[in-house]
């Protein structure tokens, strides 16, 4: 830990931008409460008629719950960030204007969460889902000078953005089958269908895809790995991401589409399994982590595993418990994250192994975060107690096995939560060093602005209030469950000492305490799991596939053709193959006709043979002069053919063009450096052995491709020419109308009148070509 050279107290917390955003959050929170109390409201307008998209928002129970979380937790986190962000920028010696990369995204994040919470249309859900992904992308990469931040941002975007595409596909499948994107409409349609004899496989797949997108967003195993990486973000971002925004968006979507999930039992069972797996893996890995935020990140995976599992259990119990769990978790988890941030700011450390015993120096923080930890581990007199009570009830009602598992899960939560808190605040006092490090024991803490503690205290008070006056929270959860299930739900919560759930909770605390007391017993196994995950886990698969894709990309790029001839060949050869395909795909019997050959035709055939030979010479020789002369033979031979076929005017033009072109070519050859030919230059120069072989193989390749292309062109033309002349041809009409155009010969009239537009454009084309040539030539001159 480098010495703190500047007192952090001088931080400007009077940044108007920051406070504006925080105040907006507070205002929005008040607005959400007002809306909730007055029964909400609905907006439903057409968005894009063409694709049947609607802007359909409705502030129902789910909207109230997640809206309040996004704005309320948002207000706390933003207030915290007004102090944190300037400090953070100061530590990294970054300009204050970088805060513009923070606040607008946070504000948009909050707004899109509120939108997401109230959206009633699958496409709208997808759009807002992706907007949150974009916000998180830029926020995770706030410290973009760090490579880890950039990689983490990319990973979060790829994984959650890719997941969102699954949701889009699911929505489109549902639309194709049922003709609507509206979630309430789909719910009632599917329920009717389910009652009438079950839903189609396609529908199940679609629902599975939507659920998968939501699970990915909620960082459920096996696609959880992006979340711990996203800890590269500044702490307030992590706090918000984990408690009320990004990750919560996943379970929000599950709650929203729950009525669809209900008709697809396979999907629901899958959710149950994935939830359990996430609880186990997240919890076990959380116990092995050293970084504060890593511990908390894995705990989030585990905690959302609870929620997913509850939705997997389903029914009234499951849905209510899930909604309540989200609230309790959001309060506790945001407070714990903010604690991590404050400790890091004060002590300059980010790992449990480098701090300890800070309770005496940071008493308010210690108490506040202890309350948050108590909430997360479901101790009585906190709102967390009820979350576990509901959880145990739902699990035990489902099956005894699940009841047992739920106790184990709660024990795990107890252990990792208190391991985190105890690691920071209990034990021997040390800052930035191991336990027996004298320097670390004496090292002072940096002073911490009050704003880095106050929001945590507020959240803690809220958590305790919720444990005493649980009514409003229960109402919030039951409203959300009502919106989830589609019918009203009542929820009464109170302390019952004799209830089964209380005993289960006590058992869980005992188990958690045991786990905490015996780290040596489970340590090796948990660390082995962690190592196995790093070596073979999905995160490794992600990295392998990303680097494999990059490698293949490079490899393919290396073998792409570069030289001009090959680029031309790459058009001609596939073109020839496609013509052959077309030839094979259609009936050819009697299509291709050979006319009669007599009289001057024999001469024409002989001339064409000459032309063909000359073309062959062009392909095989490397002498410039020979190429020019052979091309001249080709051109003049064809001109003669025109003359023989009764088109003397065309022949004359062709003759003229060929003469000029040949002379120009000869002049160019005269100017070109002597004896130069491409292959020799390559050979004499730096050409390596493979290149030489390359050149050698080209000797045959080019003519071969030429033959393929020529054959294809021949087929096309022969096929067209084999057709009889159409009964009505425009040219006959043109000849007839020539006198009407005051002309004597049809060619002139076509050029000047009937198709005068063509002529004018062609003149422009030639003009442009002339200017192009001039532009090229002038480059060589010095003026």
């Amino acid at each position: 830990m480098p010495q703190q050279t500047s007192p952090p107290a001088r931080v400007a917390t009077r940044d108007p931008l920051a406070w504006a955003v925080a105040l907006v959050a507070l205002g929005a929170f008040a607005g959400c409460i007002a809306l909730w109390r007055t029964g909400g409201g609905t907006i439903d307008v057409s968005w894009a008629r063409e694709l049947d998209l609607r802007l359909h928002f409705s502030f129902d129970g789910i909207g109230a719950l997640y809206g309040l979380l996004a704005t309320g937790i948002g207000a706390a986190v933003f207030a915290y960030a007004t102090a944190y962000v300037p400090l953070h920028l100061d530590h990294q010696a970054r300009p204050a204007r970088d805060r513009w990369r923070f606040w607008p995204w946070m504000a948009l994040f909050m707004l899109s969460m509120v939108g997401l919470a109230t959206a009633q249309d699958l496409i709208l859900l997808f759009v807002l889902f992706d907007v949150t992904a974009v916000c998180s992308y830029f926020l995770i990469a706030f410290d973009r000078q760090e490579r880890a931040s950039r990689l983490a941002a990319l990973m979060a975007l790829l994984v959650t953005g890719g997941g969102a595409v699954a949701m889009l596909i699911g929505a489109v499948i549902l639309y194709a089958d049922h003709g609507t994107f509206s979630i309430p409409e789909l719910a009632s349609l599917l329920r009717t269908q389910d009652e009438a004899g079950g839903i189609a496989t396609g529908t199940t797949v679609a629902i599975g895809l939507i659920a998968a997108a939501a699970l990915i967003k909620s960082a459920q195993v096996p696609l959880h790995f992006w979340l711990p990486r996203a800890m590269a973000a500044p702490t307030p971002v992590s706090a918000y991401l984990h408690s009320a925004a990004m990750v919560a968006a996943g379970v929000l979507v599950i709650g929203r589409v729950f009525q669809l999930v209900e008709v697809a039992p396979v999907v629901q069972d899958g959710m149950l399994a994935i939830g359990l797996l996430s609880i186990a893996v997240g919890g076990a890995l959380s116990l092995t982590r050293d970084g504060f935020k890593q511990v908390l990140a894995y705990s989030t995976i585990s905690q959302y595993g609870y929620v997913v599992m509850l939705y997997g259990i389903g029914g009234r119990d499951g849905a209510t418990a899930a909604a309540f769990y989200v609230v309790a978790h959001a309060i506790a988890k945001s407070a714990l994250f903010l604690t991590a941030g404050t400790v890091t700011m004060a002590a300059g450390c980010r790992r449990l192994s480098t701090v300890g015993g800070l309770a005496r120096e940071l008493p308010v923080l210690a108490v506040a975060s202890a309350l948050a930890a108590a909430t997360l581990s479901a101790l009585p007199l906190t709102i967390g107690f009820f979350k576990d009570e509901l959880f145990f009830r739902a699990a035990a009602e489902h099956s005894t096995l699940l009841g047992v598992v739920s106790v184990l899960a709660a024990g795990l939560t107890f252990a990792y939560t208190w391991r985190f808190w105890g690691g920071i605040f209990l034990g021997e006092r040390r800052v930035g060093g191991a336990a027996d490090d004298a320097a670390a024991a004496a090292k002072p803490l940096a002073p911490v602005p009050a704003l880095l503690t106050a929001p945590i205290a507020v959240l803690a008070v809220l958590a305790v209030l919720g444990g005493i006056v649980v009514g409003p929270f229960a109402e919030l959860a039951s409203d959300a469950a009502g919106a989830t299930l589609g019918h009203d739900v009542q929820l009464q919560l109170a302390y019952h000492l004799d209830a089964r759930e209380t005993w289960m909770a006590a058992l869980a605390w005992l188990l958690g305490g045991l786990l905490l007391a015996t780290p040596k017993a489970w340590g090796p196994a948990a660390r082995a799991l962690s190592r196995a995950g790093e070596r073979f886990g999905p995160s490794h698969v992600y990295e392998l596939s990303l680097s494999a894709v990059n490698r293949w990309s490079d490899r393919l790029h290396d073998v792409e053709v570069r030289d001009l001839r090959s680029r031309v060949a790459a058009v001609l050869l596939p073109g020839g193959i496609l013509v052959a395909l077309g030839f094979a795909a259609t009936p050819t019997a009697g299509v291709f006709q050979i006319g009669s050959i007599d009289g001057t035709d024999l001469l024409v055939v002989a001339l064409l043979a000459l032309v063909a030979i000359a073309a062959g010479v062009v392909a095989f020789t490397h002498q410039h002069i020979a190429i020019v002369l052979a091309l001249a033979v080709v051109g003049l031979g064809l001109a003669t053919v025109y003359a023989l076929l009764g088109a003397p005017d065309v022949a004359l033009v062709a003759m003229l063009v060929e003469t000029v072109v040949t002379l120009v070519f000869l002049a160019i050859v005269a100017y070109a450096p002597r004896g130069e030919r491409p292959s020799r230059r390559e050979l004499a120069g730096v050409a390596s052995e493979p290149q030489r072989r390359h050149t050698h193989s080209r000797r045959w390749r080019d003519p071969l491709i030429g033959v393929v292309a020529g054959a294809a062109a021949f087929l096309v033309i022969w096929g067209a020419l084999s057709r009889p002349t159409p009964a009505e041809r425009v040219v006959d009409e043109l000849v007839r109308l020539t006198p009407a155009a005051h002309g004597r010969d049809v060619v002139t009239v076509i050029l000047a009148d009937f198709r005068g537009l063509d002529t004018m454009v062609e003149v422009t084309v030639i003009g442009v070509a002339v200017f192009g040539v001039i532009a090229l030539l002038r480059r060589g001159r010095t003026w």
């Binding site: 880890a148 590269a232 990303l546 041809r729 109308l737």
Partner: protein
Amino acid sequence: MTALVLALVLPWAVGALLLLADGRRRRWGWTAVAAVAANLAALVVLAVKVLPDGHETVVTGGWEGGIGIVVRADALGVTFALLSSFVVLAALVHEVLDGVRSRTFPALVVLLCTGLTGLFLTGDVFNFYVFFELAMISAYVLTAYGDDRHQLGAALIFAVVNLVGSFLFLIAVAAMYHVTGTLSMEQVAERMAGVEPNAAILIAVTFFVAFGTKLGLFPFHFWLPAVYAGTRPAVAAILSGALANIGAYGLLRFGAGLLPEELELGSTVLIVIGSASVIYGALLAVSRRDPAEMLAYSSIGQAGYVLVALGLGGPVGLAAAVLYAILNALSKALLFLSGALRGALVAGAFAVGALSLAGMPPAAGFLGKLALFHTGVEEGSVALIVLLFCGGALAFVYAFQLYQHEFWRGSRVKAGTGLEEAAAASAKELAAGRELPIAGGAAGSDVAAEPAASPVAVRAVSVVLALIVLALGLWPEPLLSLSSDAAAVLHGGAR
């Protein structure tokens, strides 16, 4: 009718006259801008008249259709003309603000715009070729714009390969005339039905190869990366955002419009080639470090989507093809223009383009993805949906890897007195020890000098384009109805 004539004649005359002026002077640059803007305005007026399902026809010389050349503006043609003219205008304004470097640049851009307008609005097969030549010859010269070896090399490759394509197109036009006896598209469409399948399919294949080359479909694409990467950004924006529309429009007009039976017959081949393009282009784009090269390969992939949608056909498929072509042109213009700039807001504009490319809302690109998934689901093809998903995932990777490489890596700040040690430790933990090829770079606190910012006005052009792409994503109705009107021209009106 006035609008139709004006859209064509005004830029033509101004462009021809501008050839004589020194385009490096500001006033001639702005004259060119005014000409293209007038062209765009005339096209807007025309669009208001023609949409949703009308058309506006002029026959040259006052002859009846087929004798004289039919110039015919319908929803499809106007849509593409509007799009191309808009992209050309954006690129031209960008370059004029940035400082034109050669005498002929403004004139050539205006003439290219004339050529594009003409070919999108003509109803005559040969006249299409003639306007096409005007656009192409201007583009050949424009590619050399910028004076150095890269640009000259790019121009040579571009001209040679595309002349092959043009030649194939000419063969197909000649053959088509021989079998139908007419050049008017309307009459050709009527008479092609009676042509022997073999002759017709060979003609159709030749058209396909010609337009495939223009559009840069795999495997005809080998010219494209070198050209887009070699030429200057404004020209690359014009090539990819305006000129490449010839390929998409040509496939739609000649395929679905004139040769529908042959299109049906070859649909499997089209889908296969389109899929190959999607995957090949996206895969090659992944590890490119030069934005222009990445965008070039991305264009190959995006062209593949248009082809797949065309191959699937039907009202939904054709509308998706038009929509995708429009979205791709806009995104590419935005990305090419902003990719070469530096300074505040440029990164944001580029990010909007990257989002659009990856099909992520709120940028407009997601509409194309949505339309394509619609098409795929309607077709009931799982393979196609998987293909679209993979192509989209690769687009995510290449768009954002490059975005980060371009705009994030360079802006290192000096690590201060703060949390260095802790940050390094957490970086180690997070990076899990694997170097990824692109997002990497030296770790630590090296300070790279911020490159000099581009002029504000030039950046403003990119920002405006970005805002338009965002706005089209937020209010998609106009774009969607435009593309479905355009597609309705091809499948006979019923929407």
